[in-house]
Symmetry: C2
Subunit: 225 residues, 2 copies
DNA sequence: AATGTTATGTTTGGATCCAAAGTAGAGACC
DNA sequence: GGTCTCTACTTTGGATCCAAACATAACATT
């Protein structure tokens, strides 16, 4: 995949995510190619990719339109990630947590502890958490015994609101966000504990619940989200 | 999507599924376009689609190769379908089974009963079952409240061995297959029962187990599958 | 006036051309 | 003889051209 090609896909993904094209809006190949300053060819390739990712959908016989997402879709996408990561965690537990894998997970657990140790959250901590969170999840999913689960999660994560690292952190209320991350960290540690003891069902359920943290946990802390 | 374009994707999907291209084999755009009798353009579009579907993967910087699947991948794909359809079933149960939806499900239940009523299986029954089975599953998934779950299942089903209607029926042993379909029918009926009573967890688990029927249930009936 | 048909314009799909990037092979130098 | 480099060839990516399909609008006919 060349520079132009890849950048067309990701630039379009970004534009759609930002709402540059309204939901349901038809996207013409010529219009987009002119906006991005490339020819129609890479745009046509990108449209097919974005269709598969679920961001675009066919508008009848005539080209593509931006897919619109409801609140129910957001909730469903989060649940889908939950059951898939839960499946991955259960499989890891069932096949036994190797010493190497446990060590790797503890790296991210430790980084989380260090981040939260000082008792409050700074602006720049957000990226650090996002990074370690991603590593933690990817490590478990990547150890599930087959890339199929990870692929399914990756495809689901193309919906911009579904990805685990898309936790919206409100930098205006870092104290409340601190409590949220503290809970996430606890959930991470509980998952590792369950994995260590081969408790497949518990690991699965913990991961499923963990998926909701970006969604409804705000209510707990008075965020109304 | 034009005739040629769609047919290139599905023809390639078929060829790959049939093993016409060995696992890991590199696919050149020119070679494939000549084999299919089209120009490079629709092939390039198809490669992107098939990459997203997971049948092809990038071969370094140089084009695509046929993805190879292990037994673990097959098992995982079936489990992925299981947890996703389980999620759909649970959501249906949680939101309450409407009278209309129950009536529609009972149509497929009834067709299944009629098919199995005569006590044995004929060759042509296989297609009938495949059809009603597909409808049953699609009805539940389509009622989960958001297309997101169905999309995730559809993407997973692109792996040829993962789809629910890919139950390989051994026409040499229709008596053993009869027992398998009888069990599948019972599972369908139990799912509807659970949905009717709002038993979300039970509906979910029944669907998850139901996914395995094409995979390991052969062992029970002495098929060695 | 309404409906059906035709013609024109817009947009997508397929083919081909050109450029760029990568790979492999051969030759030269150490 | 081995390794490094340069060159030629293969293959992919991007741009453009042409044809086909679809939509829209206008005109004619009933």
């Amino acid at each position: 995949m060349s520079n132009t090609d890849k950048s067309v896909v990701s630039r379009l993904r970004k534009l759609i995510g930002e709402g540059a094209y309204g939901p349901g809006e038809r996207l013409g190949e010529v219009a987009v190619s002119e906006q991005l300053g490339v020819s129609r060819t890479p745009v046509r390739l990108a449209f097919r990719t974005l269709e598969q990712e679920g961001l675009l959908q066919r508008a009848g016989k005539r080209g593509f339109m931006v897919r619109e997402f409801t609140e129910a879709d957001v909730l469903c996408a989060v649940e889908v990630r939950g059951v898939l990561e839960g499946l991955a965690a259960r499989r890891v537990a069932e096949q036994g947590l190797s010493a190497a894998l446990e060590a790797e997970l503890l790296v991210w657990i430790q980084k989380g502890r260090e981040l939260l140790a000082k008792g409050y959250l700074e602006e720049r901590d957000v990226d650090v958490w996002s990074e370690l969170n991603r590593h933690f999840h990817e490590t478990i999913v990547g150890s599930a015994g087959s890339p199929v689960i990870g692929d399914a999660i990756a495809r689901n994560n193309h919906l911009p609101f579904a990805a685990a690292d898309s936790i919206v952190i409100d930098s205006e209320a870092l104290d409340r966000e601190y409590r949220k991350l503290q809970l996430a960290q606890t959930q991470h540690e509980l998952v590792v504990q369950a994995l260590r003891h081969g408790e497949g069902a518990r690991a699965e359920m913990l991961m499923r619940e963990h998926a909701f943290i970006g969604l409804r946990y705000g209510e707990l802390f008075g965020l109304g989200g």
